[in-house]
Amino acid sequence: MQKYDELTEFLLRMGDSALVQAQRLCEWTGKAPALEEELALMNVGLDLVGQARNWLDYAAERIGDGHDADSLAYRRDERHFRNLLMVEQPNGDFAVTMLKQFFFDAWQYPMLTQLSKAKDERVAAIATKSLKEVTYHLRRSSEWVERLGDGTEESHQRMVKAIDALWRFSYEFVELSTQEQSLSEAHTIGDISSVATKWQAMVNDVFARATLTVPDAAQPFYLASRDGVHSEHLGFLLAEMQYLQRAHPNASW
């Protein structure tokens, strides 16, 4: 599998994760449990597509070869996507969706905080802008996790099930690749070594308020999104998202 340089790979990880998470949010259109949530979910989605475009633009410039953000988003196969396994998981019910969102926000928040201090100015600028948005996303998703965990017997049970379905993919939030470590140590992207503990602390705190139990640390298996080894779901997600670009390769939209 083709790999780019360390920074480009990292940019793809940030961009692809935001994009895939946004794509899942788009699936909620017209189906949210309250009209107010239609707006809220779409707001988060809009922020994330915007972030994805910024990361992928930068990645495309580094890759060259006539690439742009659209060609990266719409013309790569799943084997070349670097998004976190968590965000490609199906939406399930609102408990699964909100828990996924929370896990992702709780990772993005400390990550972007550190990236905003990056030596690489472009990384720092994108992170600074994104961080404002993600601060609000995290506030909303952690409130929903608390509401649903603590709300009714039914909502609590649904959250327990959601944790059971999703926790297995959480190992990616707490591990750093050697490439990321070296980027971090060189301060190209800021010191991200503390992201794992901050993610865990946030989860512990919100779960406690939500009366939910934090499971033992998830053990990795051979699925590794950094190497493009994803769950079965990503292929279908991309087939849908990329359909027009694939069916009409010479078209301009």
Binding site: T29, A32, M42, D150, E154, S155, W253
Partner: protein, 330 residues
């Protein structure tokens, strides 16, 4: 047009002499273009008509998200995706502005939505047609939002204050929707492949007549129009608005280099208007009565969203109560 066939409960207008003193003062206020506000006295039939019209309008915004939701996961570029998401989000917002205006009349949002879900309330017939290719996203923005704007611009001066103010907000925000749609089509026509140009013409062919039907039946078949006009809930007749829409749309169609599926369409130099062929009102009536291509699935999607999501709303209430109790103890 987002509110078609709104029942007013009266087929014949009362003269000022036939009115009670209150009714008369009310009508004189409307005639003097003074806005009616929530706390003002109003005839029961005015209140009921407004609730019906505003809720229909709101339902249309909400159901109207679905034909676009059908393509938001397949938008062809990141830019198009952002535009479409923002547009869909605005529609949810416009639905909420309208429900909010409706609630000032004492109506309950959940009850009115329940009427929609049980088939007792209407929404615009246009959203019961499918969106079959990407150009439909352009044609919906250009034609459907275009028709909506023609209808909504005069509603900014409608007699009920909260409705008029909601319309001001909606019109301001919607100005980008039509341009966004038209630009999708224009780009495909000017820079697209043959297949893309075919998509555009195909979308216009399918959506043209349903868009014209959005303005509702012709004036002689709109028994409720006279009362709504007297109350200034409605400011122009269906036929006037439809003609205005056609007159402004055909030149835009020519710029695209497309046609509409109407062999009778021609410019009338004398009247300064376009003439057009007969609208299939039988089809319109069928769609309004629930037998359009997508009525069942549109309503089912909305019903499911609210019914399946009930546990979420209940959990939020339960948690808020617990939190309140904890604060009370502390």
């Amino acid at each position: 047009m987002y509110a078609q066939l709104v029942e007013t409960g009266s087929k014949k207008l009362k003269t000022l002499e036939e009115m009670s003193p209150e009714e008369r003062a009310f009508q004189e206020r409307i005639d003097a273009e003074i806005k009616i506000e929530a706390k003002n006295w109003m005839p029961d039939s005015y209140r009921k008509t407004l609730i019906r019209q505003i809720s229909q309008h709101a339902h249309s915004e909400i159901v109207g998200m679905l034909p676009e939701g059908n393509w938001v996961t397949r938008a062809p570029t990141l830019k198009r995706k952002l535009q479409l998401m923002a547009k869909i989000q605005d529609e949810a917002g416009h639905g909420l502005y309208l429900y909010s205006a409706m609630e000032t009349l004492g109506a309950d949002r959940d009850e009115e939505i329940e009427k929609l879900h049980s088939g007792r309330a209407k929404y615009s017939s246009i959203f019961n047609y499918p969106t079959l290719n990407w150009a439909d996203m352009g044609a919906v923005g250009w034609l459907v939002d275009g028709a909506a704007i023609v209808n909504q611009v005069p509603l900014q001066r409608t007699s009920y204050g909260p409705y008029a103010r909601a319309m001001v907000r909606v019109c301001k925000e919607e100005s980008f929707h039509q341009r966004q749609g038209y630009e999708i089509l224009l780009h495909m026509m000017r820079h697209g492949t043959e297949a893309q140009k075919e998509m555009v013409q195909d979308a216009i062919n399918r959506l043209w007549w349903p868009a014209l039907m959005m303005f509702g039946p012709s004036d002689e078949h709109s028994p409720n129009s006279a009362q709504s006009m007297a109350w200034k809930i409605k400011r122009h007749t269906n036929d006037e608005l439809r003609q205005r829409f056609i007159d402004q749309t055909i030149p835009q169609l020519n710029v695209l280099g497309c046609t509409v599926p109407d062999p009778d369409l021609k410019w009338n130099e004398e009247t300064g208007h376009y003439e057009f062929g007969d609208i299939q009102w039988e089809e319109f009536n069928r769609v309004i009565q629930g037998h359009g291509p997508c009525n069942t699935e549109r309503l089912e999607t909305r019903r499911n969203a609210i019914e399946i999501g009930a546990w979420v709303r209940e959990a939020a209430v339960a948690h808020a109560h617990k939190k309140q109790q904890k604060q009370a103890v502390a």
